[in-house]
Symmetry: C2
């Protein structure tokens, strides 16, 4: 496969001259206009410019326009026994930038999304503290607040790929993720209010839903950057994201970000709950499992082109874009390969990487219809480089579920369609 973009890219105007003439047309007076077919849109009556649109009373709370009706969360029926314990994947193939709107942000429940009013909400801190406390929602609002943007990634994101290329689309292979600006109270503030005793080495956090989804977190992390969040992207958390309050555990697996958080018990050891023994452990090549692999290692994926976002335009300029993230800090570099990892080009980061938040990357390139084996490879501020699937399988085998941060490959064909494949 030939790698394009070896030298200076052809002028984009050359591309426009070549392709726009037949689709949109040059306007009168332009040099190349004599060859252009008149644009039917310019000669026809444009109804949107001939009348009045909607008044502001139409949308007290707006939704996406009807033409974006496919940009929604989707689940995969065979993945779980029931929708109350299932996954709704973010449509990352159709998004850009870094913020995930709450309306289409990944959700996963263990016993369904519960309906919990602010006035019924309580948060208890108990166990090894000087003063056990119960906070109402209103109490939480009286403590100093923090604002931070973080990604949440489910430990099972990309988990189906351990056994080989399976689901055909970035939404399904990498969509158990979202990135929001959180507002809330530092967990440290609340723990200091209660006073953690010297023997308190862990916190056990649980939610108000029937599953309770209890998890143990080392006290060092609890006192570092965790947040009891009540707002995301400026407004109240959505029901499916833990309204009225959830735990934010920056950089760590999503299952620990307990929703509808109701209790924080300070203990001297981990609880070893169901969620940290039978689940959220990593099966290894030798058949044993390892637990407490909380941090989400550096990872990336090309979101477009991808199976759900094929190249529909002609040859010439092509924007390759995707997302990168790391639970260990900021993304410092993303490389893109068009030939399955043989050669790499360094992508452009839209903005400098932020710690434990999604980073958008772009490769502005040219495409002449050649097949591509598209990959992206993230590097974070610790120097960690995203591994290949083969490298991960050496220790992890093929029977794991969690923590698959391997390099993803999309096979882009001559017609612009893309498919999830493995390269060896």
């Amino acid at each position: 496969m030939t790698v394009r973009f070896k030298g200076k890219a052809p002028s984009r105007r050359a591309f426009l001259k070549g392709t726009l003439a037949s689709t949109a047309g040059m306007v009168a007076g332009a040099g190349a206009a004599s060859a252009a077919t008149p644009d039917p849109l310019i000669t026809q009556k444009q109804e949107w410019a001939m009348g009045l649109g909607d008044g502001v009373d139409a949308t007290p709370y707006g939704l996406p326009i009807q033409y974006e009706g496919d940009v929604i969360r989707r689940n995969v029926e065979w993945l779980t026994a029931d929708t109350i314990s299932s996954i709704n994947f973010s449509p990352i193939h159709a998004l850009d930038g870094t913020i995930t709107p709450q309306g289409c942000a990944f959700e996963r429940h263990h016993s369904g999304a519960i309906d919990l009013k602010k006035e019924d909400y309580r948060l208890m801190i108990n166990g090894m503290v000087d003063q056990e406390l119960v906070f109402s929602y209103e109490d939480l609002e009286r403590f100093p607040r923090v604002n931070k943007t973080f990604f949440l990634e489910c430990a099972a994101n990309t988990g189906m790929e351990w056994a080989g290329a399976q689901l055909n689309g970035a939404q399904f292979t990498h969509g158990m993720i979202h990135n929001m600006e959180y507002t809330g109270v530092s967990l440290r503030t609340l723990l200091e209010e209660a006073g953690v005793k010297p023997e308190g080495k862990w916190v056990y956090v649980e939610g108000a839903d029937a599953s309770s989804n209890g998890r143990s977190i080392p006290i060092e992390k609890a006192l570092d950057d965790c947040i009891i969040a009540f707002k995301a992207n400026g407004e109240a958390l959505r029901k499916e994201h833990g309204y009225p309050a959830r735990l934010v555990v920056p950089g760590w697996e999503g299952n620990m970000w307990v929703k509808w958080i109701r209790r924080i018990e300070i203990t001297d050891q981990a609880i070893e709950s169901r969620e940290e023994t039978s689940k959220y452990t990593d099966t290894l090549e030798d058949g044993t499992s390892r637990k407490w692999t909380w941090v989400m290692d550096a990872k990336s994926v090309v979101t477009s082109p991808s199976p759900q976002s094929p190249i529909k335009h002609g040859h010439g300029p092509l924007v390759i874009t995707g997302l990168a993230w790391s639970g260990r800090g900021a993304i410092t570099r993303v490389d893109v390969s068009k030939d399955g990892g043989k050669t790499w080009e360094t992508a452009r980061l839209a903005n400098p990487g932020q710690p434990m938040a999604l980073t958008r990357f772009y490769l502005d390139t040219q495409w002449a219809g050649e097949e591509m084996l598209l990959q992206s490879r993230a590097v974070d501020e610790t120097g960690y480089v995203q591994p290949t699937k083969a490298m991960l399988r050496e220790t992890r085998g093929e029977n794991s579920i969690y923590h698959n941060n391997c390099i993803q490959t999309w096979w882009v064909k001559a017609d612009g369609e893309a498919e999830n494949v493995e390269v060896s």
Copy 2:
């Protein structure tokens, strides 16, 4: 009026001991628990923990939970002749952080929000260019993209206040604003594609709606930081924000951020359109008007407590919060006064100010039920200090509409309710 917070704030635990006992209760075993009334929520059956919640199929695209049904855009009937030329204000009194969700982000139209499909969308660049061009939506997606977060403020925001304290609520006095992460193509990129001739000194931009809402912009600004945006907060622009593409003019008045942008004409002088002569000019004290006051000067407002967000909890810890912004760069400091501007305390910025984007500030303080005349005062990186209303009136009089960036005053009463007032 006494200014509180003169020394070290009382321990928040002392506050919790004093007030939680009667509302939420201390848990068993705690030192103060003997005096606590058992929390009915802890002894009653909690239905949300006893059954299953919603499955993920319930919300392919989610909306806020029913209990947040009042956090919506609102219009003011008497402001305009018809809703198609009216304003829907952001509920900033109920938001936190800095991102404004699209669903409740301020909208203003001149002839209603139009329905324009991507396949019908065209953007023309004509006039003093080497090559006039027409882009389809798909063409725009083939150019290198940028991602930036900016505030948009309507020039008329706070405009009703020229004549005195009027509308009672931050949503109505300051809600013609939103702050989003935009993805799109730099306008400079497109202008360079067309090739601006040396005599081209202005661009005239117009939208595809019936009003066309044409505005002239100096070529220096057009080549600086303007964006043809197609996504906001990660997803497609909403219909009411200009789907499928709008102009972003960082720091400049919202009317110039033309929605459904269809044409950019390069000219040697300003067009002097209706929108820049009969509207969007500033009436002065002497009865004359000045035009081309494009930049939105530094401004801030306390969003809570405020008339729509009264203090409902008891005395003790209180979080005062608000927003600050400047069209000339980053916010560097916000001061808060509780006594109508006699004395000031420096607020805490949630994060370092970003150029031409909303900045969230907090003042973590104590309240013992005293009346307050709450104000906030923004300072930007140029050293500009937000003025009082009296200072603005010296040159502008009381008959202006636009560009009122005065310091706002909320009178907080002993019962925690707040009212829009003026101080002299």
